[in-house]
């Protein structure tokens, strides 16, 4: 005989405040080190920056205390730290190159925190999102396809993942990610039984029946379209990866994942063989250090990033003391390489651990929450974050071909920052529900 007793959860708001304090010190110190090493240290600017950061963090903390008192205590400090370290590094590259990305990024970060607060205030129960399952699906697909509209979409660096209107440009794919997670969660929670049903057994695994393959093939086709027409391997892989991950969570069947990965491998190989842009990315990945590939410029960025990280070594050159600006797009696609150079392997591992903590908290919320939709939503958002980090870091470190995705919270980019703060808001909302003592759950 066994008894199951529930352990009362500490909301952890105080631990959060303490961690926030540490995060604040890191954020301000990062900026001060960058300024000092550029012989540019102005105490007024640092004080103003620190005050701004403190206001945002305290505002986020108090809103959470009011509207989601049981939400996860470590997610916000981790996210603030990543965002702050990212801003310091972007500021550092600004100083070297004379650009003004950091100011824009600070504005976007403030807007991101405001968006997160707004989402938390407006969405008091994540289950409401289930009503918009199919709306979210349509919106997600439209957002993904928007860059293909002539006159609206623009091609930057060979990938057509941007839209430009009224002088502003944005990456709709970042927001499409969230809409599609909502859609998959709503769809799978209703249809998972059909997908988990019996099928032929092969090699010890139960495979899905051909007639149940429809949704998988549809999503695969959409991912392939993104890869072929937007020439963006990263978005395609992310989109398909999120679906496979959520499908696995919903059905508990590895065969779906294997089938899906097989399909994607086939599609990816086909694309690599036929589409010149994708092919050059594969070339740069496989033959990065060949003299031909390098001198033709295909792998120049990648190789410079690798050398940058190598010169960083174990402990890095110190913030503001390396030369990350030698790498093209050091502030966005290659921020991981920049940080690797200046913080070294030690610092990069700390950053990756922060991502790991965020993803782990997403899955923990998914385990703890009681409704199926919330489980799939939280795990889907967790997968989105994990896969995106893997694609970015894998691309920069030459584990997989380089893609146009950006590191969440670190890299320069308004759409990415805003979208990821919304992801955090949703995760906090689900974790609040998951950690609430059972008698309070409606």
């Amino acid at each position: 005989m066994a008894t199951v007793s529930e352990i009362s959860v500490r909301a952890g708001r105080r631990s959060e405040l303490a961690l926030m304090g540490m995060a604040w010190v890191i954020i301000v110190l990062a900026r001060a080190l960058v300024d000092y090493n550029a012989a540019y240290l102005e105490l007024d600017a640092i004080a103003f920056y620190g005050l701004g950061a403190a206001v945002l963090m305290i505002a986020a903390h108090f809103v959470l205390d009011r509207v989601a008192p049981n939400a996860d205590p470590v997610m916000l400090p981790a996210v603030f730290t990543l965002n702050g370290v990212g801003i310091a590094e972007i500021h550092r590259i600004d100083l070297a190159e004379g650009t003004g990305f950091a100011t824009a990024q600070i504005t976007w970060a403030a807007l991101g925190v405001a968006t997160m607060i707004a989402v938390l205030l407006l969405l008091r129960d994540h289950r409401k999102l289930r009503r918009y399952t199919y709306t979210a699906g349509v919106v997600g697909l439209i957002l993904y396809m928007l860059p293909l509209v002539p006159g609206l979409g623009i091609t930057i660096n060979g990938a057509r993942i941007w839209i430009s209107a009224l002088g502003y440009s944005m990456q709709p794919g970042e927001f499409a990610k969230i809409a599609l997670v909502v859609f998959f969660a709503g769809y799978l929670v209703t249809n998972r039984d059909t997908l988990a049903l019996a099928g032929p057994k092969f090699l010890g695994l139960r495979f899905p029946r051909p007639r149940d393959m429809g949704p998988l093939l549809l999503v695969w086709a959409a991912a392939m379209l993104i890869m072929v027409y937007e020439r963006d391997l990263g978005a395609s892989l992310l989109f398909f990866g999120i679906f496979l991950g959520m499908l696995y969570v919903a059905t508990q069947r590895l065969s779906w994942v294997l089938t899906g990965m097989g399909l994607f491998a086939v599609g990816g190989t086909m694309a690599a063989l036929t589409i010149p842009h994708v092919r050059s990315r594969f070339d740069a990945w496989l033959h990065a250090l060949d003299a031909d590939t390098y001198s033709s410029g295909t792998s120049e960025q990648l190789v410079r990033g690798l050398f940058g990280m190598a010169s960083g070594g174990l402990f890095g050159t110190g913030l503001g003391e390396g030369r990350p600006d030698l790498v093209p797009y050091a502030e966005s696609d290659f921020i991981i390489a920049s940080l690797g150079e200046e913080l070294g392997l030690t610092g990069l591992m700390a950053i990756l651990t922060l991502y790991l903590i965020i993803v782990q908290r997403a899955f923990r919320a998914s385990i703890g929450v009681r409704d199926g939709f919330g489980k799939l939503l939280a795990s889907g958002l967790g997968f989105a974050m994990a896969i995106q980090v893997f694609i970015v870091v894998g691309g920069v470190t030459r584990v997989i071909p380089l893609t146009g995705l950006t590191a969440p919270f670190l890299a320069y980019g308004g759409s990415s920052l805003l979208a990821n703060w919304i992801v955090i808001a949703l995760l906090l909302r689900v974790s609040d529900m998951a950690r609430r003592p059972s008698e309070e759950v409606a």
Partner: protein, 172 residues
């Protein structure tokens, strides 16, 4: 600033970054929430019987008046009934002024899931200054200190009552 302090700050930043990571993990470790499964039963009877009797029991019984968790000292004067062996080992019931019915039937105060128990096995009730125990015509009998209980017998502090695989003790 000197070269030394720059180096110190450089390493200090990395240490601070890791301090945050480790502190976050520390918070997570203290944050094990969800449910805890405690196995109870015959397999563990041999080990520290007294210690175990004071430990956690099913929380769902809290509503039925059966106390769970450790015993608070405030009710020491009132006394309570503790299950010291059997499937419900560790459960305690505070004794008030109401009689307590023990048996397999769900209407009993203490429901014992044991084939050697009758539906309404025995009753413990207050009389005069103390408590008395009475068998309600059970098949396998109620034994107070190895003596079969029939008519109401005085049930003193420290006495042990055995019914089926369960042993109950009156404690203060």
């Amino acid at each position: 600033m000197s070269e030394l302090s720059i180096t110190l700050l450089r390493f200090g930043f990395l240490i601070l970054l890791w301090a945050l990571v480790l502190a976050a993990i520390g918070v997570l470790r203290a944050d094990l929430y969800g449910t805890r499964v405690t196995t109870r039963g015959r397999g563990r009877e041999r080990r520290k019987p007294d210690n175990r009797a004071n430990k956690v029991a099913a929380p769902s019984r809290a509503a039925t008046g059966i106390r769970t968790g450790s015993i608070s000292t405030s009710s020491a004067a009132v006394g309570h009934l503790a299950v010291v062996s059997g499937p419900l080992k560790g459960t305690t019931i505070p004794l008030g002024t109401a009689p307590i019915l023990i048996g397999r039937s769900p209407t009993c105060t203490l429901v014992i899931d044991d084939d050697y128990c009758s539906a309404k096995h025995c009753r413990i009730f207050p009389e005069d200054d103390g408590w008395r125990i009475e068998d309600l015509g059970s098949t396998n009998g109620t034994f107070l200190d190895n003596q079969r209980v029939g008519d109401p017998m005085p049930f003193k502090r420290g006495d042990q009552v055995r019914l089926g695989a369960t042993t109950l003790e009156l404690r203060s």
